[in-house]
């Protein structure tokens, strides 16, 4: 199973490498399609990782229970 929590920092790094890899001419066309496909999947995961749901501020009490601010 792949890691549930995607590290965006690493993902961005990997995406930069993907773009660079696509620039290489010594890879085969098939390889470049494969790299592109992987890149698109990674992009999708990144978008999901940003998890665009607005969050409310939670306040903790002494017992570590939280309620909305």
């Amino acid at each position: 199973m792949e890691e549930e929590k995607l590290n965006l920092e690493e993902a961005f790094q990997k995406l930069e490498e993907t773009v660079e890899a696509l620039e290489q001419e010594d890879i085969s066309l098939e390889q470049s399609f494969q790299i592109y496909k992987e890149g698109m999947e990674l992009l999708k995961k990144c978008n999901q990782a940003i998890d665009q749901v607005e969050k409310k501020v939670l306040v903790l009490n002494e017992d570590g229970e939280s309620h909305e601010f």
């Binding site: 592109y36 969050k55 601010f69």
Partner: protein
């Protein structure tokens, strides 16, 4: 005669006067400590003095919480308490409730001492600094639940990235128990496994910010497994936790900027990468197409059809050449022939006949060129331009060698 009073009455009267005085009930007195005695009962007796005089002081064991350092001879202190009369001795005394080292100077000294101590312990060492993760999901905040600091942090976070979860531990940031409250907050947020935490408060006096200079707070920040950004006061305020924290932010607002990535920027970055990938792939396809085309042209150039065509055209041009050479040859020969004809014409005997010459043949048709070949009476034919004359030899005469005509 005036009234006469007992000693006890006078002392009681004075005590009562003191008791009615508003100022004497609660005042702060500064001076230098002398004759300090820590009594076994827990009470502390000492004298405060300055260059003008002295005042006797006592701190009862029940008030010892108001003293958080060990007093020593010569220290400058501020004693807060009540002035009251001790009737038995007819003396007034300062009953201390709190004793603090005097002024900013003392606090600064404490600050410098702790800073030096912690630095020597290696708590500020860069190798212990944890990197601040760039893309966080949960942000812990230890600060007062009211005031500008928490508002700034919430505003900036929700503006930059409303998708980050803020967990706030509402801490007491000044006054009694502030340090302990901050420590609890740090520990609880660590347990909640936030990605990064901001510990701080808004601006204030050095006394207001003091909790952030306490060793227990510094230790908690140092021990915390979650990266901590300190954000105490304004840019110019520096506290001990600024040195211990993994990152120091000049203000709470700045801390939020440092902790929370800009979601819009990240999303547009992703879009940029997507477009870049697409362009690169399309470029690659274009490139492959172009090289395919070049190969196709190359192949066509080298195909057998091409060679056949080439040879055919070679053949045609050879044929043309051959024909041309032939025609040329014929023309030339015709020309040469014409020249011969002209030449022959010039040599023709018939032509000579035209010029008044004739020739003679014998009966056998042989041309007569020798006198000895004919005899008198022979029939001869004389050929002239426009006919033949038949005649007979009537006479002949031999002439010696000389030719008279040609």
């Amino acid at each position: 005669m005036q009234n006469v009073y007992t000693v006890g009455q006078v002392n009681s009267y004075i005590k009562n006067m003191f008791a009615q005085d508003f100022l004497l009930q609660e005042l702060s007195v500064k001076g230098e400590i002398s004759n300090c005695k820590y009594h076994s009962s827990g009470h502390i007796y000492f004298t405060l003095k300055d260059n003008k005089g002295t005042i006797a002081c006592v701190m009862f064991a029940g008030n010892r919480a108001g003293l958080n350092f060990r007093m020593a001879e010569g220290m400058q202190v501020v004693v807060r308490g009540t002035i009251d009369v001790y009737e038995r001795d007819g003396k007034y005394q300062l009953y201390a409730k709190t004793i603090e080292q005097d002024g900013a100077g003392a606090l600064y000294e404490r600050f410098e001492r702790l800073k030096k101590e912690l630095e020597e312990q290696g708590m500020f060492a860069p190798e212990y600094k944890k990197p601040i993760p760039k893309y966080i999901r949960t942000l812990g905040v230890v600060t007062a639940p009211t005031g500008a600091a928490v508002r700034d942090i919430i505003n900036i976070t929700s503006r930059r990235n409303p998708y980050v979860q803020i967990l706030l531990y509402p801490a007491a940031v000044q006054g009694d128990g502030a340090a302990a409250s901050i420590v609890r907050g740090i520990k609880m947020l660590e347990k909640k496994q936030v990605d990064v935490m901001i510990v701080g408060r808004g601006g204030g006096s050095i006394e207001d910010l003091w909790a952030f200079n306490e060793e227990i707070v510094a230790q908690a920040v140092f021990d915390c497994s979650v990266p901590v950004i300190s954000a105490v006061g304004h840019e110019t305020d520096t506290t001990i936790i600024d040195y211990v924290a993994d990152l120091r932010a000049p203000t709470p607002s700045a801390a939020a900027e440092l902790a929370v990535y800009d979601a819009a920027l990240a999303l547009s970055g992703l879009e940029g990468i997507r477009l870049s990938m697409l362009r690169k792939l399309q470029g690659r396809i274009r490139l492959e197409r172009a090289s395919l085309k070049a190969l196709e042209a190359e192949l066509k150039k080298n195909s057998p059809m091409g060679r056949i065509r080439e040879r055919r055209s070679n053949l045609i041009s050879l044929e043309d050449g051959l024909n041309a050479a032939m025609r040329n040859r014929i023309t030339k020969d015709r020309h040469r022939l014409a020249i011969y004809i002209e030449k022959l014409k010039g040599l023709s005997p018939l032509d000579k006949l035209n010029q008044g010459y004739s020739y003679v043949a014998d009966e056998g048709g042989r041309t007569v060129t020798d006198i000895n070949r004919v005899a008198v009476g022979d029939a001869l034919s004389i050929y002239v331009k426009n006919g033949i004359i038949h005649t007979r030899v009537m006479d002949k005469r031999l002439m010696d060698g000389t030719k008279k005509e040609c």
